[in-house]
């Protein structure tokens, strides 16, 4: 088990290094640079050259990469050209906001998707087509939500928020409200972005759980428990649920990683000040060090999520950890 986790950890370090390095190089290779973007076309050539020298953008790409690498090994991610602040200061404050959004979305998705999956999986239609209509409705809703990307769900929820006025349309906190801490205002602002991320995710959880539950319901130990006269609801929600959690446990870590590293679109549309928005701003401004930092942070989340999933899988199924 330990060698397995160690192997995954080494791979995770390599992933983070590769992603942040390639982001820096790709951002540098793209046409234009921070100076062109920030000074505009009216700046005189001497001013432009002076600014390039100040930011080190006049060096060759190899030299810039060497400088960056030299700093990174000392855990210095460089200084953001855009915000004139250390990248290592900018990322944690935005990553914290992304984490709030991601974990809320995960909570919503789990609380919605898991029970619905249990209901849908445990109430299958009988052989003659008779049976509950509820599983059909749940399945159809899940399929619709699964086919809607977070971009559409966020636009839909923003539309609902604008028309009803029930919740804020965008942003993280209202003016005049405390800038930190868990407040009712923050929870209200979370509804739209977390909902946009959570709905497709809940549908995925529901589908996975329904499938696993349907299999678990037919398992001999469940049939035997039912035959002994234990109430069906107790068997479903206690014994079968426990036995059917493996698929969701396997994807949970990856979902966490994906949410933390990939809620860009929702963050931009709902004005959520997270890592995704920071990276978009950095890309637009050609802030190469911030781009590399954000990509690195995203890949750390993804690697950690993947590691978590692997560890969980190895725990429930020791065969996956075998060399």
């Amino acid at each position: 088990m330990v060698p397995y986790i160690a192997r995954r950890l080494i791979f995770a370090v390599f992933l983070v290094f590769a992603v942040s390095s390639s982001s820096l190089i790709l951002a540098r290779l793209a046409g234009g640079d921070y100076v062109t973007e920030s000074l505009g076309i009216e700046a005189h050539a001497a001013t432009v050259e002076q600014a390039r020298a100040r930011y080190g953008l006049d060096k060759s790409m190899g030299a810039q990469y060497r400088d960056w690498l030299g700093r990174v090994v000392r855990l210095d991610l460089g200084r953001s050209l855009l915000y004139d602040r250390p990248v290592s200061d900018l990322i944690p404050e935005r990553a914290a906001n992304t984490a709030i959004l991601a974990f809320t979305a995960l909570l919503f998705a789990t609380l919605i998707g898991l029970p619905l999956g249990v209901v849908a999986g445990s109430r299958r239609r009988g052989p003659g087509g008779a049976g509950d209509v509820i599983p059909g409705v749940i399945r159809a809703t899940s399929l619709i939500l699964l086919s809607m990307p977070p971009l559409l769900t966020s636009l839909f929820l923003i539309f609902v928020a604008a028309r009803t006025g029930w919740m804020p349309i965008a942003g993280m906190r209202s003016p005049g409200e405390p800038a930190t801490g868990l407040t009712l205002d923050l929870l209200r602002h979370l509804i739209v972005p977390a909902g946009a991320l959570a709905l497709p995710l809940a549908a995925m959880f529901e589908r996975l759980q329904a499938q696993a539950m349907a299999e678990a319901i037919g398992a001999p130990f469940v049939l035997a428990t039912l035959a002994r006269g234990v109430p069906r609801s107790r068997v479903v929600w206690r014994d079968a649920l426990k036995a059917s959690l493996r698929p969701i446990a396997a994807v949970y870590g990856i979902v966490i990683g994906t949410l933390l590293s990939g809620s860009f679109v929702v963050e931009v549309i709902t004005a959520w000040p997270g890592l995704g928005r920071l990276m978009l701003d950095a890309l637009r401004a050609r802030d190469v060090f911030l781009v590399a930092g954000c990509a690195g942070a995203g890949s750390i989340f993804l690697a950690l999520g993947s590691l978590l999933s692997d560890a969980a899988l190895a725990l429930v199924d020791p065969r996956v950890a075998e060399p």
């Binding site: 793209a30 062109t36 009216e42 005189h44 003016p175 800038a179 549309i269 701003d281």
Partner: protein, 563 residues
């Protein structure tokens, strides 16, 4: 003797009069404005972009300001000024009794310090480039604590208008940073808001990254209302950072913000009109704007060396054919959904001082366009509807435009379709803004560009980089050492006279001639100027919107809200 160029405002309380502010304007309250981007700095010297500019407008003041409605220069920190007879020196009398937001007095030493800071090489401010006349820096001398002399190397007709760019900085707060060669980094986004001191109507009280900037009323602000009472009217102004325009407009409709910082896009007009009809917002039509969409080719000599199309890509006739072939009214109707006016040159009717109604207007004439192309050897030799050169190669070029701007993408499509009608194939390629600017401003690797450049000022003397052949914004062939063509040489000569002449009517005549030469050769082909609409919530009052940016926030001290 010199000529007095302005007089103090009419207020009896020491501050200049405001722009038509009425008695009984409500006081207090919080106005919420949206912007699309984060600021890059708290200092205008360090960064040049919309939000930093806005922040500077709110927290800092200038010696003079351009009234964005009348486009005239008005007193601000300088209450009056006198121009010397040779037109080179301006003596500015500073307003007495003015103090910074921290209570320190404002004097001529702050003005001298600000110029020193802007021109300092270590500061590396792009303001240093715009604070020049004929490519030469201004010399500033403090005569006494309330008088400064600003000297231009050559006669400069636009004079103190140039100073509208320059926020006056507090020497007592920033001198140490300048001496240490670190002014470029001073007032960055990590600086505590309480350290940002200024002469503007508001003080920065909070910056929450990614969310908002909060400004509180500066109780020491120098401008007064017409009734002599203190400005600004608002107690607080909040800037919400909303990167997506759809969310921004929905929040405006829902009453969660009071106004957007910039004009609205044509496609947003219809839904906002419904909200305006329902009384939720006010929609203001400011008329045809100052900026037009335009197309230009790479006219740098040798840019197409080795390319068989070199014989015709840089010819005047090709651009003239495009100008004749593209239906400008169609462009206005299709691209801007009817909310635009056809334009034929770089100066739109919105620029009332410098627009020339007599400028020749290119008609929409397909046959004339074909004749122009035939004159440079492009005819339909195979009968397939596409023109070919003498060796049978198809007439085609690549048009770059910016991605993410629906108006530019639609406009490029119209040009492509209109050119197809005369047998020229246009390949439209969209690029992200930075990459596009890099192509035409740095690498020069492009054939043609379709874009909407923004002029720095309405006075041509303040856009020398566009007009002069040596200018850094001379789009079609930037920063030439010598004028590449006779007509560019002629424009250089006319503009040199235009910039120096003290006689406004003479300047107008000279600039009309500049426009005439420009349109004869059409280095840049202009098509349509969109109308400018702004939308504000119905509780905003005392608004004096202007055609130039920032349309609703150029005079933030007189804005008010009904509670």
């Amino acid at each position: 003797m010199g000529a007095a160029c302005s007089s103090p405002g009419t207020s009896t309380t020491g501050g200049p009069a405001t722009n038509g502010a009425a008695l009984g304007v409500p006081r207090g309250g919080n106005l919420v404005v949206s912007v699309r981007n984060e600021p890059r700095s708290f200092s205008r010297l360090a960064a040049r972009e919309t939000t930093t500019d806005l922040l500077s407008n709110l927290t800092q003041a200038k010696l003079v300001r351009i009234n964005k409605v009348t486009l005239e220069v008005e007193p601000a920190l300088a209450e009056s000024w006198i121009r010397s007879d040779d037109g080179r020196r301006y003596t500015l009398k500073l307003r007495p009794g003015v103090v910074f937001s921290d209570g320190q007095p404002f004097t001529s030493a702050d003005v001298v310090f600000t110029f020193k800071a802007v021109y300092d090489e270590k500061t590396g401010s792009s303001l240093a480039d715009s604070l020049q006349a004929n490519g030469k820096r201004l010399r500033v001398t403090a005569i006494d604590p309330l008088t400064v002399e600003i000297a231009f190397a050559d006669p400069f007709a636009a004079g103190v208008r140039l100073l509208d760019n320059l926020p006056i900085l507090p020497r007592h707060k920033l001198e140490a940073a300048l001496d240490a060669g670190k002014l470029g980094e001073a007032w960055n986004l990590s600086t505590p808001p309480s350290e940002i001191v200024g002469l503007g109507p508001f003080v920065l009280s909070a910056y929450i990254p990614g969310q908002r900037l909060v400004f509180d009323r500066n109780p020491r602000y120098f401008r007064k209302a017409p009734d002599g009472s203190a400005l600004p009217y608002l107690d607080r102004l909040t800037i919400e950072i909303i990167p997506d325009q759809s969310a921004e407009l929905l929040r405006l409709e829902a009453g969660q913000i009071d106004m957007t910082h910039s004009e609205i896009l044509p496609e947003a007009y219809a839904p906002l009109k419904r909200a305006a009809d329902a009384g939720r917002i006010k929609l203001v039509d400011l008329g045809v704007g100052l900026d037009a969409n335009s197309l230009w080719f790479n006219l740098k000599p040798g840019a197409f060396a080795g390319d068989p199309r070199a014989a015709w890509l840089q010819r005047d006739e090709l651009r003239q054919a495009i100008s004749l072939a593209v239906d400008r009214q169609l462009m206005a109707d299709t691209v801007y959904l009817g909310a635009a006016a056809p334009v034929f040159g770089p100066i739109t009717p919105a620029n009332k001082t410098w627009y020339w109604a007599g400028l020749p207007k290119t008609p929409h004439d397909i046959e004339a366009a074909k004749r122009k192309l035939a004159a440079i050897g492009l005819t339909d030799r195979t009968g397939d509807g596409t023109l070919e050169d003498a060796r049978g190669r198809p007439a085609q070029f690549t048009l770059l435009t910016r991605t993410g701007r629906p108006d530019l993408e639609r406009g490029a499509a119209v040009i492509r379709d209109e050119m197809k009608k005369i047998g020229v194939v246009v390949n439209v390629v969209t690029l992200e803004a930075g990459a596009l600017v890099d192509r035409f401003a740095n690498t020069g690797k492009y054939e043609a560009v379709y874009y909407s450049p923004i002029a720095s000022d309405t006075d041509p003397a303040l856009n020398p980089d566009f007009w002069f052949s040596f200018g850094s914004a001379h789009l079609w062939n930037m920063a030439q050492k010598m004028p590449a063509t006779d007509w560019e040489r002629r424009i250089d000569e006319l503009m040199a006279k235009q910039i120096a002449s003290p006689d406004e009517s003479e300047r107008k005549k000279l600039f009309d001639e500049v426009q005439q030469v420009f349109v004869e050769h059409e280095p840049v082909v202009y098509f349509a100027a969109p109308r400018v609409y702004v939308a504000v919530s119905s509780r905003v009052t005392n608004l004096t919107p202007a055609i130039s940016r920032p349309q609703t926030l150029w005079e933030p001290d007189t804005l008010a809200v009904n509670k």
